[in-house]
């Protein structure tokens, strides 16, 4: 999960990385404690491309700050409105760099990426230099130096970048981060490096050994509405889309495969909902049904599960129990397959449900029902 810029900067500060001494501004703050102007007022949102969407405003005095804050709080970035703003001192610098540490399959672990020209256009520029590390303890300053030798000619700057990169690798490993990206990393007039912006993506699954990650996950759930929260607490993964066929599936790949099939056959998926991480019991599927039943955009629900360790007799029984207590009248289409699927028709017969044999048939049925609704 991605954390906010000011949270990422706090983490970097805690490991000795220089970041601006910014001020947090919450909605309704009458007199923000900003002493020196100008400042960069920055919307704290998780979506990318904030800079290009006007999410950073240079502000020269208290009055302008008020106006800019009002404007940013009212702006949506992607599907997100900022809950807080960060006012960072506007610092003069003479170079803008890009430095990140992330994980990479080919590197078998961590990789350092560096570009001597950072900033908001980084994606359009030449590819950053790449230092594959693998396990974090295999980081070697001399190897990174060799990678950067032709990339960064200023050797004093290069040495600072190398030390910083090592700190970031150690931090990514110690704090279970998928990515720590500093863009721009700037060189101040005195030669020191400072992280003017920072993006950190935590490893969700390290929540048991990092209380910060647990708190972020709890925050994510707190921000969700009641119906979604119940589903998230079951471990489900959910992304809302703009269609009308509510999809309850298992496994990310098949869920996307079903979404694509719906699209291909002329329908529109209402969501990505992977219910496989939850328990395959009545309890496990209940919040998924409640979520889609409660969503007025959803006209029909398609349950598409292909289980190996997930046994289909259990899933079929869970469906039966859920259908019995469900109040919504939205139609449900089933396509269950996998281990013990031979027991499904017998169970489905007891409550009048039909199990489609092919995904295409199930999707066609769902599209038909959605159009009719």
């Amino acid at each position: 999960m991605m954390i906010l810029e000011h949270e990422a900067k706090a983490l970097l500060r805690s490991v000795g990385v220089a970041v601006p001494r910014g001020t947090l501004i919450k909605p309704g703050t009458r007199a923000p404690r900003v002493r020196d102007y100008p400042v960069a007022l920055k919307a704290q949102v998780r979506s990318g491309g904030r800079g290009k969407q006007g999410g950073v405003i240079r502000v020269d005095n208290a009055k302008a700050l008020k106006a800019a804050a009002k404007k940013l709080f009212a702006t949506s970035f992607g599907d997100e409105k900022p809950e807080v703003l960060l006012a960072d001192p506007w610092l003069p610098f003479d170079r803008e760099l890009y430095l990140s540490v992330t994980i990479d399959a080919a590197a078998e672990g961590y990789v350092v990426l560096y570009s001597p020209k950072g900033g908001i256009d980084i994606e359009d520029g030449p590819k950053p230099a790449r230092y594959p590390i693998g396990a974090p303890w295999k980081f070697r300053t001399h190897e990174l130096r060799a990678v950067l030798e032709t990339v960064e000619k200023d050797f004093q700057l290069r040495e600072r970048v190398i030390s910083l990169a090592q700190r970031l690798v150690e931090t990514a490993a110690a704090r279970d981060c998928h990515t720590i990206e500093i863009n721009p990393l700037v060189r101040l007039k005195d030669g020191e490096l400072m992280a003017l912006d920072a993006k950190i993506v935590y490893d969700d699954w390290a929540h048991y050994r990092n209380a910060d990650i647990l708190a972020q996950r709890d925050g994510e759930r707190r921000r969700a509405d009641k119906l979604l929260r119940a589903s998230l607490e079951m471990g489900h993964m959910y992304v809302k889309l703009d269609g009308d066929i509510g999809l309850i599936s298992g496994g990310a790949g098949l869920t996307m495969g079903a979404m694509d099939t719906i699209h291909q056959l002329g329908g529109k998926p209402a969501c990505f909902l992977d219910a496989s991480p939850g328990p395959t019991s009545t309890r496990g599927y209940k919040p998924a049904f409640a979520l889609l039943d409660g969503d007025p955009d959803v006209k029909v629900i398609l349950v598409s599960v292909f289980g190996g360790g997930t046994h289909m007799n259990r899933v079929a029984n869970a469906m039966k129990a859920n259908m019995a207590t469900r109040k919504s009248k939205k139609p449900v289409v089933f396509k269950l397959d996998g281990t013990y699927v031979e027991q499904v028709p017998g169970i489905f017969d007891t409550f009048g449900a039909k199990n489609h044999v092919s995904l295409e048939a199930a999707v066609k049925e769902a599209i038909k029902l959605a159009k009719r609704a």
Binding site: G78, A105, W205, L241, L254, G257, D260
Partner: protein, 292 residues
């Protein structure tokens, strides 16, 4: 032939006394897998369905010459169990668990590399060589022996895809689930190299997703002059950019991660790209036809 797994692998089950471990012993043993030992600290001396239980992988390998490990322990213990099996001498370790911190996978890979071993997974259905052996919970009826190697980033999609092949009469040498995590014990590139070297594998079906860089490796292989024909299905065409689709690696971050970019790149390299699940069997036929 097949890759990585057949009846000659002597399988050790880490976490054998748990529910998954017990089910695996019975289910995969019934399929033909040679399960020789289990490990469960504190419970050594007993047995699970006739398979002896040991206190440690070291003791198990010494007593049974196990060379392959299947790991069924909770996510936060997978690193420990996998590294224990590797250092006890297992050359192939399969971890199906999801919810594993990626740093743990990195550490297992490092241990595997240091010991000349291979990890498959995590967050993967495992591996099956139809008619020979399986390491995982795949529904056996979806698979049959034949000429196609299958590589999949997703578990349920590999079942769906393999069943379609099987129903169409296209059997598989081996189906390997490389997993949905950003760091994989075995990457697509490595799985392709194994299928390339396997004489029985005539063509490869790759089941991929948006996000990540695995697909670049597939395109790179397919572009080789000596490459075996490759067909591929990339799911996630309808996924919005910037959102994680379940799998930690299934996220369109940059433009190269998108469905359009990936399918274009694959097609350009000569891969038979499926237009969707319904197009899987026709493209598999095309790939196999190109092999002869």
């Amino acid at each position: 032939m097949s890759i990585l797994l057949d009846q000659s692998n002597r399988v050790l089950v880490m976490g054998v006394t748990g529910n998954y471990g017990k089910f695996f012993v019975t289910d995969s043993g019934g399929y033909g897998t040679t399960v020789v030992a289990g490990v469960s600290p504190g419970r050594g001396g007993g047995d699970v369905d006739g398979v002896p239980v040991f206190e440690s992988a070291h003791a198990a390998c010494n007593a049974t010459s196990a060379d392959t490990a299947m790991v069924f322990v909770p996510p936060h213990l997978v690193r420990a169990a996998a590294i224990e099996a590797i250092e006890a001498g297992c050359k192939l370790v399969v971890a199906t668990a999801d919810e594993m911190p990626v740093r743990d996978t990195i550490e297992i890979r490092a241990a595997a590399r240091a010991n000349g071993a291979r990890l498959v997974g995590p967050n993967s259905p495992g591996i099956i060589s139809p008619g020979k052996a399986k390491m995982g919970f795949m529904p056996s009826f979806c698979f049959m022996r034949g000429p196609m190697g299958v590589i999949s980033r997703s578990g349920s999609l590999s079942y769906e895809g393999s069943k379609r092949l099987t129903v169409a009469g296209i059997g598989q040498t081996t189906v390997i689930g490389i997993g949905g995590d950003p760091i994989k014990g075995t990457t697509a590139a490595e799985a392709l190299a194994l299928f390339h070297a396997d004489p029985e594998t005539k063509a490869v079906m790759y089941l991929g997703e948006i996000g990540g860089t695995e697909e670049a490796a597939v395109a790179e292989y397919a572009a080789r002059k000596d490459a075996k024909p490759v067909a591929a299905l990339i799911v996630g065409k309808t996924a919005p950019p910037g959102k994680k689709m379940g799998h930690a690696a299934a996220l369109v971050g940059s433009k190269a991660d998108s469905h359009a970019a990936k399918t274009k790149m694959l097609a350009k390299s000569g891969v038979y790209v499926c237009k969707g699940l319904s197009d899987l069997v026709p493209q598999a036929h095309n790939a196999l036809a190109a092999a002869s």
